[in-house]
């Protein structure tokens, strides 16, 4: 399958990438790993007139220690996140999520910035980014700004990114324990039919003081399971309270329904996967 014709350009810096996109107009797109965009172009669901390749921007590929957080460059591949000793040491749940995205060939090309900007409703990264309350740094023609994960995902394939804004890095808190991700994946694509990421904090008595539970794959965008979170906070963090909280499945009418899973099955999976994730926290 061959896409429609387009012109191909390479960016030499973040500023150059933004300038080229402004110059080439509304039908131009940046391409990073290309693992969502290129299949969509081949199916002719997407037909950009110009591609600006940003894969050569090495300054967006670093993973660095920011003390209480880790800064992951937007062009870090899933493979580089999965194998980073820094990520594995200071925020192992993010390395684990990366290791389950797609398959090895996909992980060698796909990037964290591309995944978040694309905001596929079944992608893995959005769930853990939202559960951990990560911060997404973007650069646009007017400079850079930070967007909290809570404000970033706004709908199906839709985000808080403005025109001509490029994700430059993702900062995840250094969370050594208390976080987990459980995915019921499509056996062919490995996309999440339902994936639940959870982050909990407990006090010295084992009482849950904070719970952030984010669900991907189930609805038109990743979302916080607030009823589950509220049911956990203030309770002793044990199997009984986890089961009770996970029982607060989202409303079936908000769930996606397709050939992989019906809406009612997805709602059920939200409870099952939430329990698994929480038991792993």
């Amino acid at each position: 399958m061959t896409p429609y014709s387009f012109t191909y350009h390479k960016a030499t810096s973040v500023e150059d990438a933004i300038a080229q996109l402004q110059k080439l107009g509304d039908e131009a797109k940046w391409v990073a790993g290309g693992h969502s965009l290129i299949p969509s172009m081949k199916l002719r669901l997407s037909a950009p007139e110009a591609l600006i390749d940003i894969q050569g921007l090495d300054e967006l590929k670093t993973i660095s220690d920011g003390g209480h957080e880790i800064h992951i460059g937007a062009l870090s591949t899933h493979r580089s996140v999965e194998t980073s000793s820094l990520v594995k040491g200071k925020c192992p749940v993010v390395a684990k999520v990366a290791s389950g995205i797609g398959d090895p060939q996909v992980r060698n090309k796909g990037t964290i910035g591309g995944s978040l900007a694309h905001a596929d409703p079944s992608a893995d990264y959005p769930a853990i980014i939202l559960a951990l309350g990560a911060t997404i740094t973007v650069q646009g023609p007017g400079g850079s700004r930070s967007i909290s994960a809570d404000d970033f995902f706004t709908g199906m394939f839709d985000t808080a990114l403005e025109d001509h804004e490029l994700i430059t890095r993702v900062s995840v808190p250094a969370v050594g324990s208390g976080a987990a991700y459980a995915k019921f994946g499509n056996p062919a694509s490995r996309y999440a039919i339902v994936g639940v990421a959870a982050y909990v904090e407990k006090d010295v008595h084992g009482t849950c003081t904070l719970a952030r539970i984010a669900i991907t794959g189930a609805a038109d965008t990743v979302f916080r399971a607030s009823a589950m979170e509220e049911a956990l906070v203030g309770k002793p963090f044990n199997e009984a309270s986890i089961s009770a909280a996970a029982g607060h499945a989202p409303d079936e009418s908000d769930m996606l329904s397709d050939l992989s899973a019906s809406a009612s099955y997805r709602a059920h999976l939200c409870s099952v996967m939430a329990k698994r994730a929480l038991m792993d926290c």
């Binding site: 012109t7 290309g34 299949p39």
Partner: protein, 154 residues
Amino acid sequence: MKHSISVTVNGVTHEASVDARTLLVDFLRDHLHLTGTHVGCDTSQCGACTIHIDGASVKACNMFAVQADGATIKTIEGRASNGTLQPLQESFKEEHGLHCGFCTPGMIMSAADLLQHNPNPSESEIRHALEGNFCRCTGYHNIVKAIQSAAQKM
């Protein structure tokens, strides 16, 4: 508009002129006549087109040839030398790791990527590493055995 590219494939450098929309897999098969890299699903799921770019396994149906400018590529044709099969290829033959053989080039390239990072993988690690490669004949069992056998030899 055509783009001039230079790629090194199996040790041989090729200069070519390609359209932006020419897929890398089509460039390998139709321009360089390296037809061992197969097109299966053409939707970046089945892995039959897996090759190595700068040492890492990639699905060649999911990138453009112009993006490979300057890259070092290895395809299935680059594995055997002078008719002598490499241990992985030998093991696929010995362990009956193929039936129709369509998926085999991609399977071997994925397995080679696994073994270069993990010379002694467990069965579950092998199965995890093959998640991007579909076989519709063997049920994977003998493919896993072939990779285990190759790991022992290498």
